[in-house]
Symmetry: C2
Subunit: 173 residues, 2 copies
């Protein structure tokens, strides 16, 4: 009677290419999931919308009369590239989960703005908790990159766990 | 070998008089701590600084030449009141933890701005995770009340779990 079983939880972890994301997933596995074999872990990656690629070199659709960035060849290459990145991110994430005996791990890849995708999937799947990394510490960096975790923390209805990667200083000073 | 033990964690939960805080602690107990008897749970309440009381009725120190709000009687009453609130909050929080067999529960009460106190205690005790409720959903309400969780999420180095109390609509419409 004293040994109360841990609750089965459905945990959504947002993953991307960043070290912060890898750290957040590892931390979650080690500190939240390990020891609870009833959990379901959902790894979510959102492929950035196409508009992001078209402005990679600073040119927008309006400034690009030749349309060379939007040829079917380029689009197909971009599509292939983004799918490969998604696959790569998911393979890496799944490797981190390989020792989680009993835990059901599934992966979801969706296209769209990460902020929207994460909030939508969290609501749709009625997850018990959302886990995300946090990018950057500087004010400027956070204003752009960190806004995903801020946005989700404010807009997702379920509990949100934000895991920061500790600063590692290469220099001893 | 398949049954890997859960890690012992030091979890700091910020508590206050609000329903959101009570919900966050209950959620944390049920979803994070139950089943892991190695954990240490630290309940933290911060007594608001005195300046808050002096402006309760809209008068500030400068607008209060008689100084009646700052007589030693009033100050002693305020002090007693704030300590009673702290005690009441802690008693309620500890009652929620009473079924946590094996988990070491301790309480900390400090005076100061909740944002500063929570961040300072999290750093000082090297906790593994900070758990907080989130006040309010409206933009205006969040701008004032919700700023504690936002501030801590951005400034505390350890992982931060923000738990929102689900909206309960009294009316069926």
């Amino acid at each position: 009677m004293a040994d109360v079983a841990a609750k089965a939880r459905k945990i959504l972890v947002a993953v991307d290419e960043s070290e912060e994301s890898t750290y957040a997933l590892s931390w979650c596995i080690e500190n939240i999931i390990t020891g609870n074999t009833n959990d379901a872990l959902i790894l979510l990656y959102s492929i950035p919308p196409r508009a992001v690629y078209s402005s990679l070199d600073g040119t927008g659709e309006k400034d690009n009369p030749e349309g060379y960035l939007f040829s079917s060849d380029i689009l197909a290459t971009m599509e292939r590239y983004s799918n490969e990145v998604a696959q790569c991110v998911m393979e890496k994430a799944k490797r981190l989960c390989k020792d989680l005996d009993g835990v059901k791990v599934e992966t979801i890849v969706e296209r769209g703005d990460a902020r929207d995708v994460i909030c939508q999937v969290a609501e749709r799947l009625h997850v018990d908790m959302l886990v995300m990394g946090s990018h950057g510490y500087g004010v400027i960096k956070r204003a752009f990159l960190g806004s995903v975790s801020n946005h989700c923390a404010q807009n997702v209805k379920c509990p949100v766990l934000i895991v920061k990667k500790p600063k590692t200083n290469g220099t001893s000073k």
